[in-house]
């Protein structure tokens, strides 16, 4: 096997005892986190995302399962993006209130990942624990047309997962889901909203802080 010849590194193969400092040169822990890499083509992301959707689609029976999986895929991104953003932008204050963290996600996190703020952040009337972020054209849906037989599937469930990951990471555990809504009869294309419902424990803390 030629593969072996090339890939066998010239160092002990017993991985449990290999000191990782041997590969220190390439270790993330030794590189500055603030260094911002060049941006990449949207095409690269779109092809990757489309393939992820196709991959997940073959592993589910129902549209709702596909949304769950996309949400989970995004969750891991959101968890990490929040921490990274604080370092990249050298932000020196944390957000400890609900409206502030949601605003932070709508503006800073969105710009960091998608190069623009989300369109709106709104409170659901009559629901203390529910908010939504509205976005006319979520980046991940730019090239996606969902076939009729997929019902109300919104692939921006991935972005809902990013919001959930960032919120959870910041200490605001919530459920987040993506939906299409038709704002006006006239417009053919629906806008997307990300429904955010905060957990009871988060609401209790918020009440104390507001108290």
């Amino acid at each position: 096997m030629e593969l072996r010849r090339f890939t066998q590194p010239n160092k002990p193969t017993n991985t449990t005892t290999v000191s990782n400092s041997e590969i220190a040169k390439w270790n993330i822990l030794d590189r500055p986190l603030t260094r911002s890499r060049d941006e990449l083509a949207l095409s690269t992301f779109s092809f990757l995302f489309a393939e992820a959707v196709q991959y997940l689609q073959t592993r589910v029976q129902q549209v709702s399962e596909l949304e769950d999986k996309l949400n989970q895929l995004g969750y891991r991104v959101g968890q990490r993006a929040l921490e990274l953003l604080y370092f990249r932008e050298r932000i020196n204050k944390r957000e400890i209130r609900i409206v502030s963290i949601l605003g932070f996600i709508r503006v800073q996190l969105w710009k960091f990942l998608f190069k623009k703020s989300a369109d709106y952040l709104k409170k659901v009337t009559d629901r203390e624990d529910e908010y939504y972020i509205e976005e006319e054209e979520p980046l991940v849906n730019r090239f996606i047309s969902v076939p009729k037989d997929f019902g109300q599937l919104n692939c921006a469930a991935f972005m809902a997962g990013i919001i959930r990951g960032a919120l959870d990471s910041a200490g605001f555990t919530a459920s987040v889901s993506a939906h299409y809504i038709h704002r006006a009869e006239s417009s053919r294309r629906a806008v997307s909203i990300f429904m955010i419902r905060l957990e009871e424990s988060v609401m209790n803390r918020e009440r104390r802080l507001a108290g």
Partner: protein, 134 residues
């Protein structure tokens, strides 16, 4: 005087522990320092949710031991107990350790909130300890 450093998840799970110098892990005061750190967790909670700062300074003391805390953007707690004679070094250490932690969490193979097993992380924390606490 030995120093103990721990990383505790937002759900009060111990994720990582180090002592400086490393040998002091086994000394009899190590247990005490660990105990002091965990006792301070309850105190920490209201501070985390009332201040917007990352570095929370001294949050508790026990006899001559002072507990310092830093909370990350992902609500993870970095705590350190020392004799309080090197406050500036503690602050710098915690901030550098935070950056290491942030980089660690970028790794797709590390799930935030789970114990930190990376040996390279361990090595670098020790290096930091040496840098700031001799």
């Amino acid at each position: 005087m030995a120093i103990t450093f721990v990383i505790v998840s937002s759900k009060d799970q111990l994720l990582f522990e180090a002592t400086f110098p490393p040998a002091s892990q086994t000394d009899e005061t190590a247990h005490l320092r660990e105990f002091i750190l965990f006792a301070s967790l309850d105190l920490l909670e209201p501070i985390v949710w009332s201040s917007r700062d990352f570095y929370l300074k001294a949050i508790d003391r026990f006899n001559d031991q002072i507990i310092y805390g830093l909370v990350t953007a992902s609500s993870c707690r970095l705590l350190l107990v020392s004799d309080g004679k090197n406050e500036e070094a503690v602050k710098n250490f915690l901030q550098d350790a935070y950056e290491l932690y942030a980089k660690l969490t970028m790794n797709p193979f590390y799930d935030p909130g789970t114990p930190i097993l990376s040996t390279s992380f361990q090595e670098r924390v020790q290096k930091l300890g040496k840098k700031y606490f001799g």
